[in-house]
């Protein structure tokens, strides 16, 4: 069930169309992520949901009620800011109590509720400290406790982990997912970090230039990208020029990188015509490499030479060249701990992949 409905929202800043006619439904208890590069409009969209920015057109419904023109303080949702935005002149306790004071809770209930939240985020001992006396991680937890203390309908998170170091960030990933499951509050999370988005979300809206390029589960966004941008933005991806040579029911014959030709089974053929140009996208980890032809009927194979490799610890990323100079990357996992490389530079190999592990993207 949709808790938040965004309908045809647009926003112009100084002649720039920052958010371009976006419509989205966000479901109850969902961990929903807006993912995109800086300037894609994700933060503006979040600020419009929070009420800090007025959309130029379109409406926002919360539980079916129009909140487009409500000021931020009247919306039953809270934001976690990138800088945490703790009140510097208030103790941890007073920071967390702030929303309850604004809602005029009676004192004993307020104290009880704040103490419960302090316990939840393990900050009971720090209740009377000021924000400048806390570490980054502790500030983060105060911000979370303050935003959840009055059980909002939705929690908006604006790149909340970007100020933390890598280890703490990974720890917070686990904490955030746990918190979301325990509280049952709907999370709308803004990030430019694709691995964070994949790890945390139930659904991801990939945004670019003010539009939603694709809205799917992390699995589908990663393995079935619908546009060049999505394939390119999430993880590493081989993007090869492709042209449709023939269509037979749901099988299309593709000419890829001018020299490869194979059949691809696809779900939808409606938008595709013979002669259609586009890209064939395939993730490096789906491309295998052997010294000899694998002799597997499901695999499409082609000769290539090794151009170079990058050792990543858990895997090695190879760069192969096809006969016409087209680059193809392949991520091979390092099975033997001592093995730095499987192939030498310039040696001949056979690369092979299952056509269906990649996608045809319409231009």
């Amino acid at each position: 069930m949709a808790i938040l409905e965004i309908k045809n929202i647009s926003k112009v800043f100084e002649d720039n169309l920052v958010v371009d006619n976006i419509s989205l439904n966000i479901n109850q208890k969902e961990f929903f992520t807006l993912l995109g590069p800086s300037g894609c409009g994700k933060t503006t969209l979040l600020r419009m949901i929070a009420g800090f920015t007025k959309p130029d057109s379109g409406i926002i419904l919360l539980d079916g009620i129009d909140i487009t023109n409500l000021p931020p303080e009247k919306r039953p949702l809270h934001t976690i800011f990138q800088s945490y935005a703790l009140f510097p002149h208030m103790t941890v306790f007073d920071n967390i109590a702030f929303p309850l004071k604004m809602a005029k809770w009676n004192k004993s209930k307020l104290i009880e509720q704040v103490e419960e939240l302090l316990e939840d985020v393990q900050l009971t001992k720090f209740a009377h400290r000021y924000p400048h006396e806390l570490s980054g991680g502790q500030k983060q937890r105060v911000a979370i406790a303050r935003s959840l203390v009055d059980r909002p309908r939705i929690l908006l998170l604006d790149e909340p982990l970007s100020a933390l170091d890598a280890r703490l960030r990974e720890h917070m990933h686990v904490e955030l997912v746990k918190l979301q499951e325990e509280t049952g509050v709907t999370f709308i999370y803004v990030t430019h970090d694709q691995s964070e988005a994949l790890a945390l979300s139930s659904r991801i809206a990939v945004m670019n230039l003010g539009k939603v390029e694709q809205l799917d589960t992390p699995q589908d966004v990663y393995s079935k990208p619908e546009t060049y941008f999505v394939a390119d933005f999430l993880g590493k991806c081989n993007l090869l020029s492709a042209e449709v040579l023939a269509i037979n029911h749901n099988i299309i014959t593709l000419k890829v990188a001018d020299i490869l030709e194979f059949d691809l089974i696809i779900d939808e053929v409606e938008n595709i015509i013979v002669g259609q140009k586009g890209w064939y996208s395939i993730r490096p980890e789906k491309v295998k490499a052997k010294r000899q032809d694998p002799d597997d009927e499901d695999l499409f194979s082609v000769k290539a030479t090794v151009k170079g490799y990058y050792y990543y610890g858990d895997g090695t990323l190879y760069e192969f060249l096809l006969a016409n100079g087209t680059k193809i990357q392949s991520m091979l996992s390092n099975n033997k701990a001592t093995q730095a490389s499987f192939f030498n530079d310039n040696s001949d190999v056979i690369i092979a992949f299952e056509p269906e592990s990649g996608n045809f993207l319409v231009r």
């Binding site: 009420g51 935005a85 009140f87 510097p88 702030f98 604004m102």
Partner: protein
């Protein structure tokens, strides 16, 4: 080795700097207790000059005038200057932020003459009120600059956070913005107060009959030479300023960091 040598040089430099600043003040304080009409040698300890001072009705009046002017003009400039500082930070109009510094940077002589011409043009009687207006005019800048500096150091998102967590605009102002910029307001207000108390040039141009301030009174006394009474009044002013600055530095770091 190099490090400790450097820090020794710095320490000596610091001491010399402070001596340069404070020796004249210490001399003034010492001579205010000297039992001699001339500021030459130490004769003996006395409170005589203070007694003479407190019996001097004109001087006491001038001091009271100064206090009244400083209180009112710093009060008005705290309110107007704070609002100006907040607006300057929020709207960032390029020309305005430079213009707010003009009353601070312009030669006082010019400001004094300009204000005098203004009052004459407006047919405004020179007196206490005109001095208060004049002082407020330049004190606003100091408060505005102090508040704006404080706002620059503030994370703007705390204002959004307050709205987000249920505070309306008014509550956001007095529960979050005001306490955060309060040290700036206090600092600006104290600066305004001290500037007003010891302003001579602008006051000189805008004063009228019956509105003599302490600096004006001291100046007219100086025509008879530096007397021990002047030492005594200066000592009182120094101690008063010292108390004010101590209070300011005690209040602000404790309450707000």
């Amino acid at each position: 080795m190099q490090q400790s040598k450097n820090s020794k040089v710095m320490l000596i430099g610091g001491i010399v700097g402070y001596l340069f600043l404070y020796i004249p003040l210490i001399v003034v304080i010492l001579f205010s207790f000297n039992n001699s009409r001339v500021n030459v040698g130490w004769i003996g300890f006395t409170f005589k000059w203070y007694k003479i001072l407190f019996a001097d009705k004109d001087l006491i009046n001038a001091a009271l005038n100064s206090l009244v002017i400083a209180s009112i003009s710093s009060f008005i400039s705290v309110i107007l200057g704070s609002l100006a500082g907040i607006a300057l930070h929020k709207y960032k109009v390029p020309l305005l932020s430079a213009l707010i510094l003009v009353p601070v940077a312009a030669p006082e002589l010019l400001v004094g003459v300009a204000l005098l011409l203004f009052f004459i043009l407006m047919n405004f009687t020179l007196g206490m009120a005109s001095i208060i207006f004049a002082h407020t005019a330049f004190c606003i800048s100091f408060v505005a600059v102090a508040v704006r500096t404080r706002m620059h150091g503030m994370d703007d998102s705390i204002l959004d956070a307050a709205r987000d967590l249920g505070a309306n605009q008014f509550k956001t102002f007095y529960l979050v913005l005001l306490p955060t910029i309060f040290p700036g307001i206090i600092a600006g207000g104290l600066m305004a107060f001290t500037l007003s108390i010891d302003d001579f040039i602008i006051t000189f141009f805008t004063a009228g009959p019956g509105s003599t301030t302490l600096p004006l009174a001291i100046y007219s006394m100086l025509k008879m030479g530096v007397t021990p009474e002047i030492n005594a009044i200066s000592t009182i002013v120094i101690i008063f300023t010292l108390i004010l600055t101590t209070i300011a530095s005690k209040i602000s770091p404790q309450l707000f960091k």
